[in-house]
Amino acid sequence: MATQEARHARGQDRRHQPRGWDDGRRSNSGQAGDEGLSRALGWFSIGLGLAELTAPNAVARLIGIPEDDSNRRMLRAFGMRELANGVGILAQPRESGWMWARVGGDLMDLAFLGNNLRSHESQPNRIAAAAAAVAGVTALDVLCGQRMAQDGDSQSHGANRLWSRHIDVRQTVAINRSPEEIYTFWRDFRNLPRFMSHLERVDVQDDRRSHWVAKAPAGRTVEWDAEVTEDQPNQRLCWRSLEGADVDNSGEVRFERAPGDRGTILRVDMRYTPPGGIVGAIGAKLFGEEPQMQVRDDLRRLKQVLETGEVTVAEGSMALTHPAQAWPSHTQPALTQPAHTQTANSGR
């Protein structure tokens, strides 16, 4: 928690300065050694991929598994994976994600080898040697991935880093309404589920404290108490979750008057720690919705609600929308119910 706060404070300091567009997103430092290792692993992927694709029988003999149709198919598929992975590493040598994909591939290889041990036609000695080789490469991959991720974390805001306990999100939207109007809407936290797709509800306990309930995968919910840590009306609002939260999170919203009096530029910076630590974070990034995109979509809906009074919806995209359609009863006097209608010509 201490480091989290420290990081956060650092971030806030930076935000009071005029900033270049990519401040905090990149730096030109890089560790030549890591890059050399990752390149070598990239070429290794390509070499292995080509062998698996073009000579699956020879590879099968080498690692001691039966040369049957199903193994040939698997080896070819692995070959495609290795090729893609190798090209990815060589094209983006600083992206640790590719290295983690290699680790994933290594684990698949080990599982595949283990599976073949059960076959009578396999040669256990050869399989064991192959597995040892794969395990060695896996260790190298993990080492390289870790170094790259640390390097990446120190050079960037960390938004899309795979190897991190936290998920950082930074998004912005321009809304054709005054900062006062938007701040007032946001400050009543009960409004947030109208545009934040994963929030089920927010109960306001007092001026600073509130209780949040959000949807989680597999129909579960996660809950936490939060407190406002800073509140500059019409300008800035910060919050953080309190002890015992299912999902640790903190964030800041800024409301800036747009130049030329063209409404407000709203900026959101959030950090959260998904349940399950690193594994949970990687899982959320690999299999969940992309967090940046999720918040971006949330802000798009906020803009819609504030500018038009409703969340835009089309039949063809219904599956992509969410219960923001239902109006909480305490807001929008003109539109409090879910679209009641006056009907005529009922015989259609």
Binding site: R300, T312, A314, L320, L335, A339, R348
Partner: protein, 389 residues
């Protein structure tokens, strides 16, 4: 209800589908009395839009009677007769407030998809793929119309459907194309494509003060209509070298403004045409731009290139050098229908414009697939197909 649904390249089917429902407080439901097939629907028909899904209801030129309104609708009431602009616009965002209705910031629920392709998302459109919102279209018996107080235009009872139907798209589209040309008295304007939009662009160019308008196409019946109904001079590009002919007609200066009313499927002859077709087939180029290139090369120095024709992706061999070195201006956009339809309705009421001359085929909604085929293949001198649900 019955609706015309896209199922794949050259595969339209009229099917029974669920009736639309009010989903938001500012929606209304329109019982459609007339609807038309647009030239831009042919891009969908020919499979040029990858964001179509089988079963999507198509059609974006429709009008009818309001049969249901959401609780938040104030200006419209049940029983009103309306034309419905093809762009869906919220009326409240910065774009809408600046009369840029077709780039509404709120009406595309799939904005993220459009941002990937174009950098930003334009407005959602009726029946024009999931890239532009996934809204069911108007070649159907009923349609749900979002932001009902912003789009639909009330139509007085003394006008027939056919007189006003084209206020939904092609008449304002032709008009905006001409308006973008910034026409000065005495100007010469050349128009590539003499389909419905081309015809209305010619008509509008004259209304806005052009002295000469030259229509370019390869179908004689379309050129004949441009001459007889719109008083244009015409050029058949299959029989003439267009650039040479235009230079001859304008003393080598070139037209003051040019309009590309054909878009991404324009036909090219000879080597250039084959080149674009091949690249498009190999997916190395999404849009053929034969007409656009020709138009750019032909316009006079300092002239305006106005592009109502639809483009979707990337164009190859774009003559940027000609645009830059000769001080050209390019103006384009999906039509901001809501900016023009009141004015054009007035002109129709006064008898200054009668858009009905372009209608060549009147079919039942059930015959929509045949309508597409006839229109696409330019059979039977087809210019415009109107469907009656």
């Amino acid at each position: 209800m019955k609706a015309n649904c896209w199922h794949g390249k050259k595969d339209m089917r009229v099917e029974n589908v669920p009736d639309p429902k009010i989903l938001n407080a500012h929606d209304c439901i329109v019982r459609i009395t007339s609807t038309a097939i647009c030239g831009s629907d042919l891009h969908l028909y020919n499979g040029f839009n990858p964001a179509m899904q089988p079963g999507d209801i198509v059609g974006h030129e429709f009008m009818g009677e309001v049969v249901e309104v959401g609780k938040g609708v104030q200006k419209l009431k049940v029983g009103d007769r309306v034309t419905v602009p093809f762009p869906i616009s919220c009326g409240s965002c910065l774009s809408c407030q600046r009369n840029l209705f077709s780039v509404c910031e709120n009406s595309n629920p799939n904005a993220a998809m459009a941002e990937e392709l174009w950098g930003h998302s334009p407005a959602g459109l009726f029946g024009y793929s999931h890239l532009l919102g996934g809204y069911p279209g108007g070649q159907a018996e009923y349609a749900r119309v979002p932001y009902a107080d912003v789009g639909p235009l009330k139509i007085p009872s003394e006008l027939d459907d056919e007189q006003v139907l084209f206020l939904t798209d092609i008449l304002p589209t032709g008009y905006m194309a001409a308006e973008q040309c910034d026409i000065q008295r005495g100007d010469t304007v050349a128009v590539w494509g003499c389909g419905p939009v081309g015809q209305f662009a010619i008509l509008s160019a004259f209304l806005l003060g052009a002295e000469r308008v030259i229509g370019i196409d390869r179908f004689e019946y379309r050129l004949r209509m441009a001459r007889e109904k719109c008083k244009a001079e015409t050029l058949n590009y299959a029989e003439n070298d267009v650039h040479h002919a235009l230079m001859e007609m304008t003393g080598g200066r070139g037209p003051d403004a040019v309009i590309d009313a054909s878009g991404m499927e324009s036909h090219g002859l000879g080597l250039a045409g084959a080149y674009d077709r091949a690249k498009q087939a190999m997916m190395l180029e999404s849009d053929r731009a034969v007409a656009l290139r020709q138009a750019i090369m032909a316009v006079r120095n300092g002239g305006v290139v106005s592009v109502p024709g639809v483009y979707a992706g990337f164009v190859d061999k774009f003559p940027m050098g000609s645009v830059m070195n000769r001080s050209l201006t390019i103006k384009t956009g999906q039509t901001h229908v809501q900016r023009y339809h009141h004015h054009l309705l007035e002109r129709i009421q006064k008898g200054e414009i009668d858009p009905t001359f372009i209608i060549t085929h009147r079919l039942r909604l059930e015959d929509a697939p045949m309508g597409y085929q006839v229109f696409n293949d330019k059979q039977d001198e087809c210019m415009k197909v109107v469907l009656k649900p």
